[in-house]
Every structure is written in C-alpha cells, then in structure tokens.
C-alpha cells in the first residue's frame, strides 16, 4: 500500500464506528471473502436462469407483429446491459487502482474483462440473429451497433494488451488507460438511439416513464437480467481468485494458504 492509501485508510478506520474498508483491498483478506461469496451468487444465478428461461419461452405470449422471434429479447437485452455495466465496472476499478495503487483493483478489472467480452459478443450475436428477420439484414452500420462492436474490440484490446506485457505492473497500468479512455464509448452506446435517429429500438424500459411492453415480458426480461448479474458476479469472483493466486504466487500468504489446505 502506498502512502496516500495508508493516509486515507487511517482516516477511515479512525472514524468512530467505521469499518476499515481498506482491509478488504488487500488480496489476502479478500481471497477467503470471495470464496465465501461465490456460492451466494452461483446458486441464485442457476435458479434465476431456470425461472427466467421458463417464463420467456413458455409463459410470455407470442408477439403480434414479430411472432416468436422477439423472444431473443430475453437474452439480447440482459446481455447488452451487462456488456455496458461490466465495462464501467472495469473502468471504475482501474481508476481506483491508478489513484490508490492497489493491486486488487487491477485484478478485479482483469477478472471482469472476459465476462464482459462474452456478454458483448452475445449481445451482438443475438442482435444480428434478430436483425435478419426484423430488418432483413444481419448487420447495418447503425450508431448503436457500431459502438457495441467497438465495445467488443475494446474488451479484446484490453485483454490482449494485458496479456502481451511481461511486467504485471506495466500491464495493469497500461490496461487501465484503455479501460478508462474506452469508457466514453459506453454512454455513446446507451444514448446512441436518442442522439441519432437510427434503425435500432429506443429504450423501452426506463426509470422515469411507464414501461411500453407487456408486463409479463418485462418480468421475464428482468428475471433474466438478475440471473445475468448473479452469474457475472460469481464467475468474476472465481476468476479473480485464480488471478490472485497466480500473481501473488511468491508471497507469504499464498504459501501459507497452500500449506494449510494441501
């Protein structure tokens, strides 16, 4: 921990009744915590997926104009949401790491990337599948589609860059530049349908106005979205534990842990 972190953490722990948040910023305390959290997300994920898929395919009615092809929405929209949120989370962890020089935040970011990339790919894939019946084309150069594609490349670029560097500290920080600079793409994706009048659907779920779709459809979509959240968190925790072990293999706490649990 560098000095600025220490200063801040001292201040935090000095606050009466406060918890020492920075305790969890060190890998050796976070590792077991993550281990305990994983099942709390993995099982619900499984359950929610099961319920969500059931609702989407058997309960929700066939759409009047699109027929059954609209059911792609139940995967498409959660995937698209996760793709954006995970990127923002990555950028957040990277920014934290750059400011406080904490190893764990970079590891979190690296653990998030593959999951984010998969969701992005799914959003693109399902979108393309959906585009064929509705727009008559797999792909158009619409602003949302383009920016979502860029998001995929940003994920891939981030992972490739991190993988290409031998020195983990350089990898962390160089990757952080990509993650943070690339974050401007996310609002572009989100608002693209509003800023440019294009083929892709506008927002139909929003906090401020009543939803424009049948509530059972909305239900299915929200359940699937929750499932996606739970799944992502579980997988990322598993991955971050693996990354921790690999990167900290030379430290005492890993050695101790491996001793205790042969």
């Amino acid at each position: 921990m560098n000095s600025s972190v220490k200063a801040v953490s001292d201040k935090l722990s000095a606050a009466p009744g406060g918890i020492n948040w920075f305790k969890y910023a060190s890998p050796q305390t976070f590792y077991p915590l993550a281990g305990r959290l994983i099942p709390l997300f993995a099982w619900p994920a499984l359950l929610l997926f099961a319920v969500g898929l059931y609702v989407s395919f058997f309960v929700a009615p066939t759409d009047a104009t699109q027929g059954d092809s609209y059911r792609i929405i139940f995967i498409h929209v959660p995937a698209a949401w996760m793709s954006m949120i995970i990127y923002l989370a990555m950028a957040f962890w990277c920014a934290l790491g750059m400011i406080f020089n904490t190893r764990l935040s970079f590891m979190m970011s690296q653990a998030l990337a593959p999951t984010g990339a998969i969701w992005t790919f799914l959003a693109l894939w399902t979108g393309a599948l959906w585009g064929k019946p509705t727009w008559g084309a797999w792909w158009v150069w619409d602003a949302r589609l383009t920016s979502e594609l860029i998001l995929l490349f940003l994920y891939l670029g981030y992972m490739a860059l991190v993988a290409a560097m031998d020195d983990p500290r350089r990898a962390d920080r160089a990757g952080a530049v990509v993650a943070i600079v690339g974050a401007i793409n996310v609002p572009i994706i989100y608002f693209s349908v509003k800023w440019w009048n294009t083929l892709h659907q506008g927002a139909s779920v929003s906090m401020t106005s009543a939803p424009k779709m049948a509530s059972i459809m909305l239900m299915g979509m929200l359940i699937m979205a929750l499932a996606a959240w739970a799944y992502s968190i579980a997988v990322v925790l598993v991955r971050v534990r693996a990354i921790m072990l690999e990167r900290e293999r030379n430290t005492d706490w890993v050695a101790q842990m491996l001793e205790n649990r042969p």
């Binding site: 383009t146 860029i150 350089r170 160089a174």
Partner: protein, 222 residues
Amino acid sequence: MLNILLAVIRRDLLLAWRRRTDVFTTLVFFVIVASLFPLGVGPEANLLRTMAPGVLWVSALLATLLSVTRLFAADYADGTLEQMLLSTEPLPLIVLGKVSAYWLVTGLPLVLLAPLLGVQFDLPQGAIGVLSLSLALGTPALSLLGGIGAALTLGLRGGGVLLALLILPLYVPILIFGAGAVGADAAGLGAGAHLLLLGASFLSALAISPWATAAALRIAME
C-alpha cells in the same frame, strides 16, 4: 507553454525533413494507391467514381495505421523519450507537439493531395470539396488516437498487431463518417451530419488523447 509545443513541432519537422522518407512515404503511398487501383481494377470511369471516396479514405487510414506505430519508436530506442519525460514542461504538450508534427507530415499532404486524386477519379466538384474537408477533420483524429495506441504498445513484442487491435475499432467510425460524408454528398443528401460527427470525434480525440498518451508513455517507461 506554447514555446515547448513549437519547439517539439519544429524538432520533429526538421527530423522528418532530414529523413524525408516520412514526408514522402505517405504521399507516395497515396499516389501509388490512386494510380495502382485503376491499374488493378480496370479503367471504367463509373466504377472508379463510386470507389473513389472509399479508396482514398481507406488509404488515408492505412497510411496512418502503418506509420503511427513508429511515432515514438525512434525516440524510445535512442533515449530521447526518457529525456522528454524528464522535461520541466508538461508531457501532454510535448505529446501534442509530436502528434501535430506527425499530422503535418503525414496527414496534411494527404488532405492537400486528395483533391488532385479526386479529379483523377473523376469525382464531381462538390464531392471533392467534401472529401478534403472530411479528411481535414478526420486525419487529425486518426493521428491523435493512433498516438495513444503507439504509446501503449511501445517496446512490446507484437506491438503492431496490438496497436491495430486497439485503435482500429476507433478508426472504423471515422472511416465510415468520412467516406459516408462524400457518399452522402454525391447522393445529394448533404454531408452536414457526417461532417459534424467527424468534427466531434476530432474534438474529443484532441481533448483526451494528449493526456492518455502521456500517461501511457510514463507507464511504458516505468
């Protein structure tokens, strides 16, 4: 502030002039593309006219993509980059100076040459104007974004591919807006929207890139 910017630009221009290559490679590249395509594709005027904006924009993009890799390479190898990081002047300004000089040397000739090549491809007057304008807005953005990539991949094994992977996604929209502007103008739709988008990309690249590049350079040297 301005002093260092001008000093770096002057330095890099002089260097480019001494090397000459860099000034002319893009020009030569551009002329080659414009003369080889008719050779390769065949001389049908209509076909050539439809291709022209795409061909010119793609070659501008490729010229940048291929040369921007080496934006910091020479300075890195001979120790000058270290000295730049140790300057009392702000690094983002030095970076901006280098990118500006790079654009003057590779981007500007392209913008100036484009009308000529446009004529060669038999583009209509109006489209040529839009082409130049779109290149004038787009190529600086390409250079600025390329700078980030070049700094991130400095001294890496396989830097070139990584660079392409990192910045190509950012280049594609610029290509689409740029070639789209010319196409829209030719189709009588008006290029305004496309040009606005290009301008916005340029401005945001200008706002972000020097800082991001400077950060990446410090990281690369550490």
